[in-house]
Each structure stands twice: as structure tokens, then as C-alpha cells.
Symmetry: C2
Subunit: 261 residues, 2 copies
Amino acid sequence: MNQSMGIVLYNGEFQNSDAVGIDPTDRGFLLGDGVFDTMLAVDGVPVFAEDHGLRLMRHAKILGIPCPLDCTLFTSMATTLLQKNGYTHGRYAIRTTLTRGPGPRGLKIPDMPPLHPTLLMHAAPALIPQGHVNLIVAQSVRRNEGSPLSQVKTLNYADNILALHEALAAGANDAVILNNRGQVCCAASSNIFAVLDGQWATPPLTDGVLDGIMRAKTIAEKKVLEISLYKDDLIRASALYLTNSLTGLRPARLIAVSDSQ
Amino acid sequence: MNQSMGIVLYNGEFQNSDAVGIDPTDRGFLLGDGVFDTMLAVDGVPVFAEDHGLRLMRHAKILGIPCPLDCTLFTSMATTLLQKNGYTHGRYAIRTTLTRGPGPRGLKIPDMPPLHPTLLMHAAPALIPQGHVNLIVAQSVRRNEGSPLSQVKTLNYADNILALHEALAAGANDAVILNNRGQVCCAASSNIFAVLDGQWATPPLTDGVLDGIMRAKTIAEKKVLEISLYKDDLIRASALYLTNSLTGLRPARLIAVSDSQ
């Protein structure tokens, strides 16, 4: 089954994705040893490109992966990618994947010879979100507040895939994921905000929350309080919102709440 | 930099790894959406092949990934792989990687059209371990006892990479990873056993412990008690051991213990 990505940027060259093959020794493939970014583009222009570029570099640094792009190059490559695909009108998602690159067997980060990180940038149409997001609270999985990588957009998304799968199977659109202390973290690919007694609130990153670009924008814009939230806060909130870079700020509501959490 | 894997089994065909390119839309690469197994082979014969094959299928099922191998085929493919590489004398590691395969953008598990899982099996020399493993207790990261995937050999190894990196930077060989409750789970790629008052003990899987093949073998052989362990138990233990499939049962010792955990 071919899921063509159209023209992609792969290790410095624009080429058709059908011609791209990831090295089977790539540590991104074998161990999830990498980070990524998903950014909206509207009418050929990447949105908040500098924020996305800076975060990609920040997250790569936490894993000790050298980033072959600076912010200027990141933005210009994204813009060129859109042009080469004819994606200059409408909404598109640009995903940038950066891995530690090929390596020998084992977990140990290779030091000699120096690694060549793998960089893949591709674009795909992004839908305009409609209406409320119906949420459940995930029963299947908790978020790992004890890992600094819970704040980082690494390639390790299996937990989030499980949570989303649970939500869709329950007839919802997304799942709120709690940490091991029972505190609210985020949804499968969004940050979460609650309005409590007129005050906007969102959990601090240290509760195990991904450092979202739209999260930071919303905190600044709405004067949001960063405070630990619990399931009961979501129930009593006058409004809930999810944010991510593709859908912006989107209203949400809990459609089912279990007492077992 | 080319890290050749020699002859590999890739989606049903034996071929040189240089000719293999992983589809850039592979969910294993983009999202860590897959599982793997590492098995020892000695003198051309895979060790505990049935256990490894069954675990791979069990773990794939937890993620809902169809496994294109049964145990018999898994073992015969592994044996053929060794022969094709001329790895019929000495110790080798056979790694089998199974991902959900290529998919469209996003976390949602695609249902239409049906996915084609990606299967890669490759072999590499395995060293004979020497002497004690010097351990620290990881400060950088905790294990996620609240995810069922903490028991599953998924491709999500970034936390373990961080823990091992911390250990090596501290002059140790490996790191004991605690869960968010402060209980001992495992090392970066091994299970852990402690001998306490003459009784062998290891943490239960539900504490966030990977379901290791050698762990199960050792529990059966040594009449091991499955009980939650804490850092203090490791300090007072008369002996510590690590197990994994490549190194078997290996003595270990704590070389540094912080009071901050």
C-alpha cells in the first residue's frame, strides 16, 4: 500500500517520497530515538514557524540530537516544500521528523563515528475542525510525569495511540490522559484548558504535559493559570478547550466519566 | 554513514540491508507504532525461539498489530537468516521489528484500506558479557507503571536511552529505573533480581516491568518471589542480577546511590 507523501525534504534534498527509503538501521525506526514537529500552513505560509523551529531544536537538544536546521532555514524549507507540492492555497500540515540517524545495534548513543541525523519534512492537507470535541477520560493508559520526555515531542507515541483508539472505540473523538498521580495532562495530540469560575487554567508542563506551541500562545493570550487539574475540575468547568497547532483553540466536552479513576 | 545489517529478512524476502528502505510513511518510524524482539542465537541455533515468537505475537496483539509470522515460521526464518549471513558459529543477536506499517497522517489507527505491517529481521554479533554490571539508580527518568506498554517491548525506547546515557556518563554500565511510586522496575534493557535474606525477588510486571523472556525463565528456575522492590532493597540485597536474552543472568552491583530518590 502506497501512502505517498508527494514531494518531501529528505536529508537536504527535495524528492518524491516514493524515492525515499529510511535506512533500516535508523534509530528513529528501531528505538523511537527522535523528535518531530507538526505545524499548520495557510495559503502557503507556515504559521508560528519560528516557535516551531525553536521547539524542534530545543527538543532535539534534550535528546542530544544535533539539529541540521536553524529557524530561518526551517521556515524557508517549509515554504519551499509547500510550493513544490502546489500547496499554496488552503490549509496544510507540515511534519518535520528528526532522528538520531543510523547506528549500530543497541541503546547506547554512538559517539564514534559521528552520527548523521535523519531529517524528513513532508506536508499533507489539514482539515478545518468542526464543532465540539467529545472527550472521554482514558482508562487504558496514564502519562509518565516522571519522564522529562513527557514534555517533549519524541517519536514515542504508542501510549497516545492507545488512548485515541480507546476514545474512538467508545464513540468519542479524543481522550483526556491523566498522569500516575491522577492529574490531567492532555489529550492524545492536544493540550487541554478548563475555565473554572471564570478563570482559564491548564496543567503545568511538569505534570507530564507536552510543550505545545498553541498551549503557550493560549496561556499568553487568555492569562491562563498553570495549575494541576483533576478529573473533577474538568467536570465542574464551565468550558473546556483543546489546542494544537493544526486546529487552534477548539471547544471540547466530556461525554462519559467513569468513577474508577 | 552506512551501518550495514548484512542480509536481512524484510517483508518476506531475504535481501541485503543496503537494498532495504523503510517507507517514510511507516508508523513505526513516525510514531513508534510497533514492537520488537531481541533473541540470542548460539552456533546457528536461536535460543528459546518459541518463547520469543510467542511474546512478539502477544505484544503485537496488545497494540492490535497483525503478526505475519507464527512461531514455527519465526524460528525457521531466524535460522535461515543466520545461515544466509554465515552466522552459524558463535553468538549472535537476532532482532525482529514489527510495525503497523505505512499509514496516512495522524495517530488514528487506519482501518480502511487494511494496513500492511512491516517486518524486519536482522542479526549482529553478540558479545559475551564479562564481570559485574555497575549500576546507578537513574535520576533522569521514571518508568510509566500506568501504561500497559511499560510491560511491552514497543519501539518507544527514548526513556531507556536517556537512562543508559545517564549511567554511562556517570561511569556506570547501566541504570536501575524506578517507577513514579519509587519502586524498582528494571535496567535500560534488562530485568533485575535481588537476593534478600536468601530469597530471590523481582518486581511484578504491574510495577511497570518489561515482560522479559529471561525474567520468566529465571523466575521459574530460582523460585523467585514477585514483589515490589525499593531502592533500599537493592542496597541491602546480598546479591543483584540483571537478565536479558543476550547476556543471560549477570551479576550486578550498585556503585552510587543518591538520597534524593
